[in-house]
Amino acid sequence: MVIVMGFEGSANKLGIGIVKDDGTILSNIRHTYITPPGEGFLPKDTAEHHRSWIISLVKRSLTESGLTHKDIDCLAYTKGPGMGPPLRSVAVTVRMLSQLWKKPIVAVNHCIAHIEMGRLITGAKNPTVLYVSGGNTQVISYSLKKYRIFGETIDIAVGNCLDRFARVINIPNDPSPGYNIEQLAKKGKNLVELPYVTKGMDVSFGGILSNIESIAKNPVRLKEYTVEDLCYSLQETVFSMLVETAERAMAHCGQTEILAVGGVGCNERLQQMINQMVSQRNGQSFAIDERYCIDNGAMIAWAGYLIFKNNITTPLCETSTTQRFRTDQVEVTWRDD
């Protein structure tokens, strides 16, 4: 039996997870760095948050799973992509624990971990993956040992677009800005016309954000539309673009399954739109809830296990981090199809 402990800290979520080789999740805890309304999380402060919480989280996860460090076979951590300082704080802790406990380390690509966690939880075999979060927006399909990127954002990520709009309208970042936009959007009725930007399989959100920002800051326009209407229109427009590109990738690759992962993937309106899209093409959609959708330690542990089971480990001198680490750079050693 192999037990892997995973460490995630690429953005404002710090997560520790313990996973067994059969996919059982023994522990999966998370602590989120939440900033006041109107502010985003800065790299330096986020790293500080991770450093101050990581040891107590490791202890808690061991207690919760009823294990001691002796039961752990391998430590997996996020190598990238993400914010530099938070990634580094976590990597330093992992190196320390590895030497203290004499355990091997496996470096994991964050995006791959999201995909593999989604496949583990839902049982989807070979889905088109819509990976949507605060830092990434990609439409991915597997072929010949690589997760290949069919479409992606050419400027900011969709979650970043939502988060930044949340700052403009000054709504709380607790539990997450995207969740609060989703709740406001439920009360919206009127659709504001916003740009709809798809370039082939690629999407762009920068222009939409500036456009809706200018409406939100204009007192005259705000007489026509409520803040709820703006949230509603923003969601309707950006999610339509995502579902459209995902559908185009499905049609091009002849796939029938779709899996949504990443923080924005747990938005219920997005999941509903994906369901409507696949029901029109007799496909099947898979969605996961916030425990596994939002960044977490268990997904890093599971992806780490998949690499570790083929006896691949990362030597201590190579346990660095990188902000730029593309999904299609990783050799998928654990899939044979």
Binding site: R148, G200, E236, I274, M277, R281, F325
Partner: protein
């Protein structure tokens, strides 16, 4: 005309003998025998996931663009399916049926996932023709918008000459930027669908370059566009 008149009130085309042959992301494609002539009906269906206002706006815009672009190409000698009939209300267009397979299927059939060692003269010829035709389209200041190997057909009757389809995302532009993005879309679709086929795409680019005096500026721009994806190991 009688059949066309009949078609207008019909919501389900299979009731008049049309056969659903594929469902893309945008539309359903039916094949119909029309007075002894094989033809295609492309029907854009309502996307239930999209807000109705947004959906009809997008759908109407795209069907118009498709018709205009098909006509423009046809007039200028680029092989596209001939346009037979348009029904804006039901967002349907009727086109000539092209007997052949997609470039994607052709590559799958002939390369078996190994694109490096299986470059027959036929494959090279097709790649060069794609480059030349895309260049001709761009010289009309037309941007296809969704160039993939599924959207290029090979016509059987003329020994696999290329036919471009699906102009729903097309638009008019004179900018090298837009043309470069168009090539970038093709490059990405090509390489993600046909792994290790970089050399084939280079054939396309080379023949694109050779086909027009406007090409060099587009190719230069393409190098900049390539740097743009997020998290690449390059700074740009």
């Amino acid at each position: 005309m009688s059949d066309l008149v009949k078609m207008e009130g019909i919501t389900d085309l299979t009731k008049i003998g049309a056969e659903l042959i594929s469902q893309g992301a945008e539309a359903k494609t039916f094949k119909l025998n029309y007075f002894g002539m094989e033809c295609i009906i492309k029907e854009r269906f309502v996307k239930t996931y999209r807000h109705p206002t947004l959906d009809s706006k997008i759908s109407n815009k795209r069907i118009l663009q498709e018709i205009r672009s098909l006509n423009k190409c046809k007039k200028n000698g680029i092989d596209v399916p001939g346009l037979l009939f348009v029904d804006i209300v039901q967002t349907r267009i009727m086109m000539e049926f092209v007997n052949g397979i997609t470039v994607k299927q052709f590559l799958y059939n002939n390369c078996e996932n190994n694109y490096q060692n299986t470059q027959t003269p036929e494959i090279i010829r097709i790649c060069r023709e794609i480059g030349q035709q895309v260049c001709k389209i761009h010289d009309l200041n037309l941007i296809h918008g969704d160039l993939t190997t599924s959207n290029i057909l090979l016509r059987t009757s003329t020994n696999n000459s290329t036919v471009f389809i699906d102009f729903g995302l097309s638009y008019t532009s004179t900018l090298a930027e837009d043309k470069a993005v168009d090539l970038y879309v093709l490059e990405r679709a090509f390489i993600s669908t046909h792994p290790n086929s970089e050399s084939l795409f280079n054939e396309i680019l080379q023949s694109y370059k050779d086909s027009s005096k406007n090409s060099p500026s587009v190719i230069n721009r393409l190098d900049q566009v390539r740097l743009r994806g997020r998290k690449k190991l390059a700074f740009g």
